[in-house]
C-alpha cells in the first residue's frame, strides 16, 4: 500500500517519518494508529524541533517539587504548600474563532493545573495582536478578551495579570497564551503516571464529539485554514467548574493512581502519556466512551478534542466511591479500559483491535530535528542602525512626545480589558491588575503572598534574539521583585514561526539560549512550558515571542508594594543610567522605526538590583516601585504619578550627562535593570547608602508634589492630561 501525500498532510507527518513508523512496527500502521502517530509526533505534542533546544533550560532548584514533563510544574512556597503553574498557547484556534479559541485555552490550562491536585487560584494572559487600526484586529482583541473573561469569570478564578503587545506581524496570527497558578499541599501532588495492571481507566466529564479532531496537528502547520477546518472547539465553563470541584474532591480519596486531562490530541495523548511515563500498557474499548454522535468511529473518538474531559486511573475497589462523587456533580464517569503489564496501547472497537502499538513508540521514538540556523541578513542590517543619528527631541516637543507614548497601544492603560475580568473572586487579591508591576495574591491560611507576571518584549527578541530572551526573563523577574517578592521559578511559551526556516530556527535557538542563561543567573528554573511554532501568515512569521510567566514568593504579604508614588515622597532611580533608543517604543512610535540593538543586559547586575529592591520593600523604606521598560523613564514616572494622583518635580541633568546630552535618550531611552522608587522623605539617604553597598548606581530624581510633572528646565505638564492620554489609549 502506498500512502498518499494528502493522507500524510492530514496527519502532518513527512514521508521519512512515515517510513520510520513502518520500520518500527514492521508493518504499515492502521488508520487509527497513523492518526495517533500524527498527533503524538506533532510539534505540539512531540516537540520535534524544540526538544533538543529545551534541554538547555535549567530546571532544578531546592524549591522545585516537579519540573517539566508533567501537566504543570510545582515549586515549594512554604508551609507545606506548592504552587503548580504552567502557560500554554491557543494561538491557531483564536485566529479563527477568537472567543472560543481563547475560552478553551483558559479551560485547557486550568485542567492542567487541577490535574496536579492543585486548586487553581489565579489566571494570567499574554496576548499579542495586530494594530487596532484594522477592524479585523479589533474584532480579534474583543473576541479573545471576551472569551478569557467569559470562561475564567464563570469558573470563579481571578484573572490578575498578563500583558498585551501590538505589532503588525500578529495581524492574522494573534498570540493567546494563558497561564494558571494553583496551590497544592505537597503530599497531594498528583501525576500522570499509570501503574498497577488491572487498575481501571475512567473518562469523566463531557461526552466525546467530533469537535477538534486533529487540533494538535492543526497547531503544527502554517496556513491551517487550507487543510484543517472545523477543528476549533467550543468551551463549556460550567461543565469545567463541575469537573474541577469533582476532581479535587476525588483526589481527597485514596483511590486515584494517576490523572491526566484530555487536551491536545484528546484520548490519544492522555492514554499514551499515562502509559508511557508509567512504564505500563493501557487497553481501552472505544464502545465504552460516551459520545455526542452515535456513528463516530475509533479514529474520531481517539482524536477528538472535545473539551472538559479528564482521564483518571483508579484502583478497582474505588469504583463505587468514584462513581458516587461524579454522580453527585451530575457528571459521567465511563470505565473505558484497564491498565495492562505489556506496555502496549491497545484500542478495541466492536471487539476488534484497531490499534496496538507500544506506548513508547509514540513518545520516546518521536524524531527530533536540529535544523540549520542562519540569521536573516535583514535583521543584522536593522540591528546595526544607530538611533543617535536621528535628531534629538527639542525641549518644547517633550510634552507631545510623552503624550504620544502614553497613548500608544503598547504603553497605555489596560484597564479597559482588566475591568472585564473578575479579579477579586476567591478573596485573595492583594495587588490587583495595574496597581503594581505584578499581581500579588495571598496564600490563604498563611501570611505569605504569591506574585506573578507574564512578560516579553518581542521587538527586542526580533532585533537580537539572544539578548531578547534574556530580557524576557529578567523583566518578568524584575516585575515580580518590584512587588517585594523573590522570583522563584518560571514557565514559558515559545511562540515562533516555521522552524524549518533557518532564520526562524536561529531566533528560536538564540532566544532559548538567552532565556536559559538569565534563568540560571537569576535562580529561576523553568518548571513547565509550551511551544507554539508555525505562527505564520503567507510565509511571514510573527515576531519571535518567548513569553515568560514568572512567580515569586513574599514572606509577608502585608508588605507587598504597588507602583503608586505618594505626595511628599522623593523619587530615585536605581540601576542602569545609560539608555538606548535601539528597539525602543519611542523609536517605533515617534519615528515609526523598528531598528537598532536592544539595551545590553548583565544578569548578575540584574540580580543585585532585584535583591536591593526586595530588601528596600521588606524594610518598609519605599512606598512605590516601578520598573522602567517600554517607553523609558518618563513613562514609568508618569505611570507612578497617575497611580498616586499626584505630580512631581524632576531633575534629568545627571541622566542627560551620561546619555550624550540627548533628551530623547534620557527621557525615553530604554535600559535593562532599572527601577524607580518612591520613598518617604528622610529615607533617601538610607536608600543611597544601601544602593552603593550593593554596587547599584542611584540617581535622586526629585520630589513628588503638586499637580504637574515638572521636568526642570525642560517642560511642565499637567498630570491630569497625561492620565487622560494613558487611560484612553485603548479607546482610540
Amino acid at each position: 500500500m502506498t500512502i498518499t501525500e494528502q493522507a500524510l498532510r492530514e496527519v502532518a507527518l513527512s514521508r521519512p517519518e512515515y517510513d520510520q513508523i513502518v520500520e518500527l512496527l514492521g508493518r504499515e500502521p492502521t488508520p487509527v494508529e497513523l492518526g495517533m502517530f500524527g498527533a503524538m509526533w506533532s510539534e505540539h505534542c512531540g516537540y520535534k524541533h524544540s526538544r533538543p533546544l529545551l534541554s538547555k533550560f535549567p530546571t532544578e532548584s531546592p524549591r522545585v517539587l516537579q519540573g517539566p514533563g508533567e501537566n504543570a510544574g510545582v515549586v515549594d512556597i512554604g508551609d507545606g504548600l506548592g504552587a503548580a503553574f504552567k502557560i500554554e498557547s491557543h494561538n491557531h484556534p483564536s485566529a479563527i474563532e477568537p472567543y472560543q479559541g481563547a475560552a478553551t485555552g483558559v479551560g485547557g490550562i486550568v485542567r492542567d493545573v487541577f490535574t496536579m491536585g492543585a486548586r487553581p487560584v489565579a489566571l494570567l494572559d499574554s496576548l499579542h495582536f495586530g494594530p487596532q487600526s484594522s477592524p479585523r484586529n479589533r474584532y480579534l482583541l474583543s473576541g479573545v478578551v471576551g472569551g478569557i473573561g467569559g470562561y475564567g469569570n464563570c469558573l470563579g478564578i481571578p484573572t490578575v495579570a498578563g500583558d498585551i503587545f501590538f505589532a503588525d506581524s500578529y495581524s492574522a496570527n494573534p498570540l493567546v497564551n494563558a497561564m494558571c497558578v494553583g496551590v497544592v499541599r505537597h503530599e497531594m501532588i498528583m501525576r500522570a503516571r499509570a501503574s498497577g495492571p488491572g487498575n481501571l481507566v475512567v473518562v469523566v466529564g463531557a461526552d466525546t464529539g467530533r469537535d477538534g479532531i486533529h487540533g494538535a496537528t492543526f497547531a503544527s502547520v502554517d496556513n491551517p485554514e487550507d487543510s484543517h477546518r472545523g477543528v476549533v472547539q467550543v468551551g463549556n465553563p460550567f461543565l469545567e467548574k463541575l469537573l474541577l470541584e469533582a476532581c479535587l474532591e476525588l483526589l481527597e480519596t485514596d483511590y486515584v493512581v494517576a490523572m491526566q486531562d484530555l487536551g491536545a490530541a484528546g484520548l490519544t495523548s492522555s492514554i499514551v502519556e499515562c502509559a508511557s511515563s508509567g512504564g505500563v500498557g493501557i487497553e481501552i474499548d472505544i464502545a465504552k466512551v460516551s459520545r455526542r454522535e452515535a456513528a463516530m468511529n475509533a479514529y474520531e473518538v481517539m482524536l477528538s478534542e472535545s473539551q472538559e474531559r479528564m482521564l483518571v486511573i483508579i484502583r478497582e475497589d474505588g469504583l463505587d466511591a468514584v462513581r458516587e462523587i461524579f454522580d453527585r456533580w451530575d457528571l459521567h464517569s465511563d470505565v473505558v479500559g484497564t491498565v495492562t503489564d505489556d506496555g502496549m496501547v491497545r484500542i478495541l472497537e466492536d471487539g476488534e483491535i484497531v490499534a496496538n502499538v507500544p506506548a513508547t513508540y509514540y513518545t520516546d521514538e518521536c524524531p527530533t530535528y536540529v535544523r540549520p540556523s542562519i540569521e536573516n541578513p535583514d535583521t543584522i542590517e536593522l540591528r546595526a542602525f544607530d538611533p543617535d543619528v536621528l535628531q534629538d527631541l527639542a525641549h518644547d516637543e517633550l510634552e507631545s512626545a510623552l503624550l504620544e507614548l502614553l497613548r500608544s497601544h503598547n504603553v497605555c492603560s489596560r484597564e479597559r480589558v482588566t475591568r472585564t475580568y473578575d479579579h477579586t473572586i476567591l478573596s485573595n487579591t492583594v495587588v490587583p491588575p495595574i496597581a503594581g508591576d505584578a499581581a500579588v495574591i495571598r496564600i490563604k491560611g498563611t501570611g505569605r503572598g504569591l506574585a506573578m507576571k507574564t512578560d516579553c518584549n518581542p521587538r527586542y527578541v526580533f532585533l537580537n534574539p539572544r539578548k531578547g530572551g534574556m530580557h524576557a526573563v529578567a523583566e518578568a523577574a524584575r516585575n515580580v521583585a518590584c512587588t517585594g517578592a523573590t522570583p522563584v521559578a518560571m514557565t514559558n511559551c515559545l511562540n515562533f514561526g516555521n522552524p524549518e526556516k533557518p532564520d526562524v530556527y536561529f531566533q528560536l535557538e538564540q532566544a532559548v539560549s538567552g532565556m536559559a542563561d538569565a534563568a540560571r543567573s537569576l535562580s529561576t528554573p523553568i518548571v513547565s512550558g509550551n511551544v507554539s511554532l508555525y505562527n505564520e501568515t503567507n510565509g511571514v512569521p510573527v515576531l519571535p515571542t518567548p513569553v515568560v510567566g514568572m512567580i515569586g514568593v513574599l514572606e509577608d504579604v502585608g508588605r507587598s508594594c504597588g507602583m503608586a508614588a505618594s505626595a511628599g515622597d522623593e523619587l530615585l532611580l536605581l540601576g542602569t543610567q545609560v539608555a538606548t533608543l535601539g528597539a525602543s517604543e519611542y523609536l517605533a512610535v515617534r519615528h515609526t522605526t523598528i531598528a537598532g540593538d536592544p539595551p545590553d543586559i548583565d544578569p548578575d547586575f540584574e540580580g543585585r538590583l532585584q535583591e536591593l529592591v526586595i530588601g528596600l520593600i521588606e524594610q518598609g523604606i519605599v512606598t512605590g516601585t516601578h520598573d522602567t521598560s517600554e517607553g523609558g523613564l518618563l513613562v514609568s514616572i508618569s505611570e507612578m504619578l497617575i497611580a498616586g494622583g499626584t505630580g512631581a518635580t524632576i531633575d534629568l541633568q545627571a541622566l542627560l550627562e551620561v546619555n550624550g546630552g540627548r533628551l530623547d535618550r534620557a527621557a525615553f531611552g530604554e535600559a535593562a535593570s532599572r527601577v524607580v522608587v518612591s520613598a518617604p522623605v528622610g529615607m533617601a539617604d538610607e536608600i543611597v547608602a544601601k544602593a552603593r553597598a550593593a554596587d547599584v548606581p542611584v540617581v535622586r530624581l526629585g520630589q513628588v508634589e503638586g499637580p504637574t510633572l515638572n521636568v526642570l528646565g525642560v517642560s511642565q505638564m499637567q498630570v491630569s492630561e497625561l492620565a487622560g492620554a494613558w487611560r484612553g489609549g485603548l479607546d482610540d
Binding site: 464563570c154 465553563p237 467548574k241 463541575l242 473578575d422 477579586t424 473572586i425 492583594v430 495571598r442
Partner: protein, 235 residues
Amino acid sequence: MKFGVVTFPGSNGDHDALSAVEYGLGEEVAPVWHKSTSVDGFDALLVPGGFSYGDYLRGGAIARFSPIMGAVAEFAAAGKPVLGICNGFQILTEAGLLPGTLMKNPSLSFVCDWVDVRVDSDRTPFTRGIDIGTVLRLPIAHGQGSYYIDTDGLDELKRNEQIIFTYTDRAGVETPESNPNGSVANIAGVSNGPGNVVGLMPHPERAFDAVLGGDDGLRLLGAVLGAATKEAITA
C-alpha cells in the same frame, strides 16, 4: 449563630462566603447542597454569587427550580434572614422572593471594580445598627447587574423602604458616574416587604480583610449577629 451557604452547580462565590463568615466574623458556617431539601439548624442563609447552571439562559433562571429553593422560600416566609449576593440576588428575584429583575449591563460587558454603596435603610437584619447614609466600599463583579423595576414598582419600593443599597460617590450622592451598570435609581440592593430577605449586586463577602482592599463587607454580615456583636467588629 450558624450561617448556611447555598451551593448550586456553578456557584463560585460560595468559597468567599464561607471564608468571610469563618475568618472574617469567626462564626459557624456550613455549605448547603442544592439537592438538599432542608435548611434546618441554620439561623441565616447566604445565597452566593457565581454562574449557577452556567447561567446560559438568564442569571438564576434555572437555579430557582433547584430542590433546595423550597426550603429557602419557607425559611424566608418564617421571617429568617436571607442574603442573596450577585448571582444569589438574581436567583432570589427569579424565585419571586425579591422584587424587580437584573438585566445585562448596558455595556454588554462584565465589570469588575470597587464601588461606593450607600446604606439607605437599617430595617433589615443585614443593615441593622448601621447608620443610614453610611457609605461602604465594596467590590462588584458581574455582567448582568442592571437592576430594573417599573415605575409603579419603584414607587412601592420607596414607599415601603425596600431600597436598601444605592450606588453613590464617596460623599454618598447618587450620580450617573457612580452607577456602574445602569441600574434604575442607582439601586444596588433591595429587600422584600418584611425586610428579612435582602439582595445586592456588590460582594460584601469579598471585603472582609483590609489587606484585600477593604473590610466593609463585614459590617453587613456582622449586622445580622445583632448590635452588640456589630460594635465588637467595628471597634
